[in-house]
Structure formats: C-alpha cells, structure tokens
C-alpha cells in the first residue's frame, strides 16, 4: 500500500514536470512560429510591391501623364500624381478599403520625364521604392 502510494506520487511528479517542460518549450516554439509567419507575410508583401512598382514604371514609360497612368493602372489622378489603392489581396480597390498604396509622382526636367514610384502600406510605411525615367523629346513648357 505504501509502495503504491509512493509510485503514484512519483508518477504525478513526473507528469507535472513533463507538463511544465512542455509548456516552456511550446511557448518558445510558438514565438518562433509567429516570427516565421510575420517574415513570410513581409516577403509576400515585398514580392507583390516589386511587381506593382514595375507595372507602375512601365505604365509611366508608356504614358507619363497622371491621368493616363490612372486609367491603365485602375487608380486615381490626384494633384498631378497617380495613386492606386490595393486591398489585402493586392487587387485594385477604393481609398476606403486600401491596405497598400502605389504612389507615382511624375516630374519633368528639360526633355526628360522622370517619376518616383513608392509602394507603402495603409499606415504609410514604405515597402518598396523605385525611380524611373523616359525621354520624350518635348521640352518642359
């Protein structure tokens, strides 16, 4: 009877210790998994931002006017610049539901037109930036 009692105590102690060790290790692993998820999301956003910026750059090279770019990219022309709003799935949307923003600011110097292309999230944090230019042969008026 005494022996069984002591075996039960040992068993329960072992179970408690095992649970404690498992809890500590799983909390560490959960932290690693959360970090992995965050990194994965960031690299997905960066990939999409690069693609979207490239589209913007090529649209600018084709038609370096804000209105024309807005038409090609399904965005809006505001104050001489072109803004395209994207939702979480990187589909063009309205300003209200935007998770990401593509901002193209065209400028002109002599016969050269150049643009700064910025992809940022809804909080304004920069994800990717690009500069591109195109020769039009038309002097600035």
């Amino acid at each position: 009877m005494k022996r069984q009692h002591s075996r039960s105590v040992v068993f329960l102690t072992e179970v408690l210790l095992a649970l404690m060790i498992f809890a500590m290790c799983s909390s560490v692993c959960a932290g690693l998994l959360v970090r992995a998820y965050r990194l994965s999301k960031e690299s997905g956003s960066l990939n999409q931002a690069v693609l979207v910026a490239q589209s913007g750059a090529e649209a600018f090279k084709n038609r370096p006017e804000a209105q024309a770019m807005a038409l090609i990219l399904q965005g809006v022309a505001e104050e001489g610049a072109c803004r395209v709003y994207y939702d979480e799935g990187w589909q063009p949307t309205t300003a209200g539901g935007a998770a990401y923003i593509l901002h193209i600011v065209p400028q002109q110097r002599a016969s050269l037109r150049f643009a700064e292309i910025l992809v940022s999230d809804s909080k304004g944090a920069e994800i990717f930036k690009l500069e591109t230019s195109v020769w039009t042969g038309e002097e600035a008026s």
Partner: protein
Amino acid sequence: MSQAKQGPLYGIGGVTLLTVLLVLCLTMFAVLALSSAQADRRLSEKNAKAVTAYYQADNQGVALMERAAELWPAGAARPAGEILAKELSAAFAAGYTVNAVEADEGLLLSAAIPVQENQVLRLALYLQPPEKPQRWEIRQWQVEPALQDESDAAFLPVWQP
C-alpha cells in the same frame, strides 16, 4: 507478495519519453518554419535589389539618350562619332564606355551598362537627325549576362581526335 509486484512498470518514464518526443518534434517544426521564412525573405530582398539595379541602369540609358540628343541640336551639323562617344563616355564614366559611329544620316550609339555583377544592359540606339519626327530608334535594349574572361574557356578543355 503478488500485490507488491502489481502496477505497470512503463508508467514511470513513459510520460517523460513522450514529452521529450513531442518537444523535439515541435522544436524541429518551428525551426524549419523559421528557416524557410528567412530564406523566402532573403530571396524577396534579392529580387527587389535586382529590379532596382535594372531600373538604375535603365535610367542611365535614358540619360545617355537625353545627352546625345542635346549634343546634336536642331540646326547643327552631325557631330563626329568619335567626338560624341568621347563626350558621352566622359559624362557617364561609371564603368562603361559609349561607342558611336556614323550610319546613314544619323549616329549609331552602343553601350553596355553594368546592371549587377554578372549582368549588363546592352544598348544599340540610332540617333536620327533633329528634323526627323522620331528622333531615336531603339535597336537593342536588353539585359545580357556579362562576358566572362577568355581564360574561363580553359576550364573545359574538349578532346579533339
């Protein structure tokens, strides 16, 4: 007597073994997930860097077009290819040279702008006289692998009978 021998022996230590196995599996899974995510992140950054480098080289090509067009304004005679090449190389001496030769009525410019370590943006541009409606004719605007040294061929000797 037999009562003393009762009770499963595997009870002691079995839980610890199970816990160790579970913790090992969970840790490996978490480490693999993190390692994979970090590799993805590095690849994304490399891609972003490559795209940025391409557009930087592209911008240099466009600046070359602007400068060359400025050096042959309306009403001026066609400049000599060598002089134009010298002016452009001096203006854009960032590890590449510009060649220019007279061709028909215009000038044929060629350059290989470095993009990354092993890539160049190869340009072949034909500059028309100022009175023509289309000033530039782009004959080549292509990213190519950078030429290796001649000595690299020695690494693969081929037996000839």
